[in-house]
């Protein structure tokens, strides 16, 4: 018997946080203008003691106005996507569930585009539209995936894939018929892109929404462990399954929606990261949720650094990087599951 202790949980989270910090330093250093680590540490130190006025102007511009906000956005988006992936995997009892694969990301994208078309003057319209789109899609996929009252794994995935391509087709239709918009920017956004910063007015809402969503899901992690062994069993062990499913379903949709409205449909993070964390630390959701949040942040920061540097000075959309890494892993998991 190896029950989870708070100590072990803190060690794992601490370790992952250290790796994340190292990745952040690396991401700050690398780019079109290389910066030495010593300078970086020195200047970060200056900021920490409140002497940011002593920074050279170009430093401030490159490191603090360009790279750091992008890295912070990457951290939030990565955490949101992989936590929502891990949640969908528990909710649907399917290791292949992921907001992108299930079409939830496409639903959120379509929701935010529709919101921009019909009510561009309203505040928070993109995240709100994305949230409604995500909720509607996961509900539709859930009902498509039912067969004789039971969730069927294959039907569920097919339902997700079909919804995703249907929704993408509508997005393409809207994009081509709506002339005058920046088509290349939209295509980049759809593939997943971190180069557009969240508008300053939305930053706090965005961060709070993500923290509340992740916190709500984490509060149910003991229940998710039991739901994974079967809903009927979980109820007999004292889990209020209806409440837990509602909390997780709403929170996971919120996380996906916020991530998509900020950075487009970055695929496979929600699949890849929780799976890697399971291999490393086991499938206990009390570890898996925080580990996925940190792991997702690490993955996105690394992927975005690669996207910025591989063909520099040209940038790739980060979604292209994650899909290149994620699709083969998905196929591997699918084939392993079929055996």
């Amino acid at each position: 018997m190896r029950p989870l202790t708070v100590r072990r949980l803190l060690w794992i989270c601490g370790g992952l946080a250290a790796v994340l910090l190292a990745c952040v330093v690396l991401a700050l250093k690398l780019g079109a203008v290389p910066i030495s680590v010593t300078d970086l540490v020195w200047n970060l130190g200056r900021v920490a003691i409140g002497r940011s006025d002593q920074l050279p102007t170009e430093y401030r511009l490159i490191v603090f106005d360009l790279r750091l906000p992008r890295i912070l956005l990457g951290i939030l988006v990565g955490a949101a996507l992989s936590v929502s992936g891990a949640s969908f995997q528990a909710l649907l009892r399917n290791p292949l569930a992921d907001p992108f694969v299930l079409g939830v990301s496409s639903g959120a994208a379509l929701g935010s585009i529709l919101a921009l078309i019909f009510a561009p003057q309203l505040p928070f319209v993109t995240p709100l539209g994305a949230f409604l789109g995500a909720m509607a899609t996961i509900a539709a996929v859930y009902f498509l995936g039912r067969r004789g009252g039971e969730l069927d794994s294959t039907t569920l995935l097919l339902g997700g894939v079909i919804s995703a391509s249907f929704l993408s087709a509508i997005i393409m239709f809207l994009m081509t018929t709506l002339a005058g918009r920046d088509l290349r920017g939209m295509v980049f956004w759809l593939m997943g892109d971190l180069s557009t910063p969240v508008p300053p007015g939305l930053r706090w809402i965005f961060t709070m929404g993500l923290l509340v969503g992740i916190g709500a899901i984490y509060s149910t992690s003991a229940d998710l462990n039991l739901l994974l062994t079967g809903e009927r069993e979980a109820i007999h062990l004292g889990v209020d399954a209806t409440r837990v499913k509602l909390v997780v379903y709403v929170s996971a949709s919120l996380l996906t929606a916020l991530a998509v409205s900020a950075s487009g449909a970055i695929g496979y993070v929600g699949l890849l990261v929780p799976h890697a964390m399971r291999l490393l630390f086991g499938s206990d959701y009390r570890v898996l949720i925080p580990a996925s949040a940190l792991g997702g942040a690490i993955a996105i920061v690394l992927a975005d650094t690669l996207a910025r540097t591989v063909v520099a000075p040209t940038e790739l959309p980060v979604g292209a990087m994650t899909a290149m890494a994620g699709a083969p892993v998905f196929i591997y998991l699918l084939r392993r599951g079929m055996r």
Binding site: P95, L228, L237
Partner: protein, 292 residues
């Protein structure tokens, strides 16, 4: 069999119980249920009023062929559904009115094995039985771990604690699932077809263990099964169901009548009395009947 016959058995209540000394745990009184496809639609399946009692240290078998209402009765007892009429009480409280957490502290349900999505260690699986006693994230304390170890020891599976569920044999898995139920420290254990995927040795071992556990821990144990022979050998009381009707309640000797069982199970059977006074059931093939 006449209608009055059924009702005398069904209403045969507390006062005629041969085990008056034992405290009554479960009281199912005229409980009925109906499944309907819609609010106004005619019910597709009905369980008519059923009554029986289970005492502590007693093993009750709910017996019947497929689609006889066994699972519905089990769900009624477990409190997941509320009866349309009548009552299901555990120690005087209606099971369907208990909140889900209290219910899990009093009633443990063992289902036919369900597939695991991710591998789990048997020990951690047993610790899940402590869930209804924990708070928030439910980090296991020393007491929980002690109870889980004890539960594994009671089913003779301490050595399995560090193995993953996936690599256990059918019988071992069933013991670990039973240990999780014991870790809930319930008053009533319900088992749904627990012998389904077990070979005969493991079936006998499981039922003997259940009887022994009921004795030691003062549980009432209710087993849903269609295994006539096993129920005859191990049950203190049998509840016989057919097409959603409760036909008989009583000791195996009282319920196991050849004509009745042949009619209920639609198979030619022989019933004889064994050495301990318990009935023995044998399947008889239809060949060469005219030759006798």
């Amino acid at each position: 069999m006449s209608a009055s016959d059924t009702s005398t058995h069904a209403l045969g209540g507390r006062e005629t119980s041969p085990r008056g000394a034992r405290a009554e745990r479960l009281n199912v009184e005229q409980a009925s249920y109906a499944y309907s496809p819609g609010a106004d639609a005619a019910p597709t399946f009905t369980l008519t009023a059923t009554s029986f009692q289970a005492h502590e240290r007693e093993l009750v078998a709910i017996l019947g062929p497929n689609a006889s209402g066994k699972s519905t009765l089990l769900r009624l007892i477990s409190g997941t559904i509320a009866p349309l009429s009548g009552r299901v009480e555990l120690d005087g409280e209606e099971t369907s009115r208990l909140d889900v957490r209290t219910r899990a502290q009093r009633i443990a349900v063992v289902h036919q094995e369900s597939p695991m999505v991710y591998p789990a260690l048997a020990g951690d699986f047993v610790l899940q039985g402590r869930y209804p006693y924990g708070r928030a994230l439910r980090f296991a304390n020393k007491e929980d771990i002690g109870i889980a170890h004890n539960a594994l020891a009671q089913v003779g599976a301490d050595h399995l604690a560090g193995r993953t569920i996936g690599e256990l044999s059918g019988g071992e898995k069933q013991r670990v699932i039973l240990a999780r139920a014991l870790a809930q420290q319930p008053r009533l254990i319900l088992l749904d077809e627990p012998t389904l995927h077990l070979d005969i040795g493991a079936q006998v071992e499981l039922l003997e263990r259940l009887r022994q556990l009921a004795q030691e821990n003062r549980y009432a144990v209710v087993v849903v099964t269609h295994e006539l022979a096993l129920a005859a050998e191990f049950a203190d009381q049998v509840v016989l169901l057919q097409h959603g009707r409760c036909l008989r309640v009583g000791t195996p000797a009282a319920v196991y009548q050849r004509d009745l069982l042949e009619q209920v199970f639609e198979a030619p059977l022989d019933v004889e009395v064994g050495p301990a006074g318990r009935p023995r059931v044998n399947v008889r093939a239809r060949r060469g009947e005219d030759a006798t």
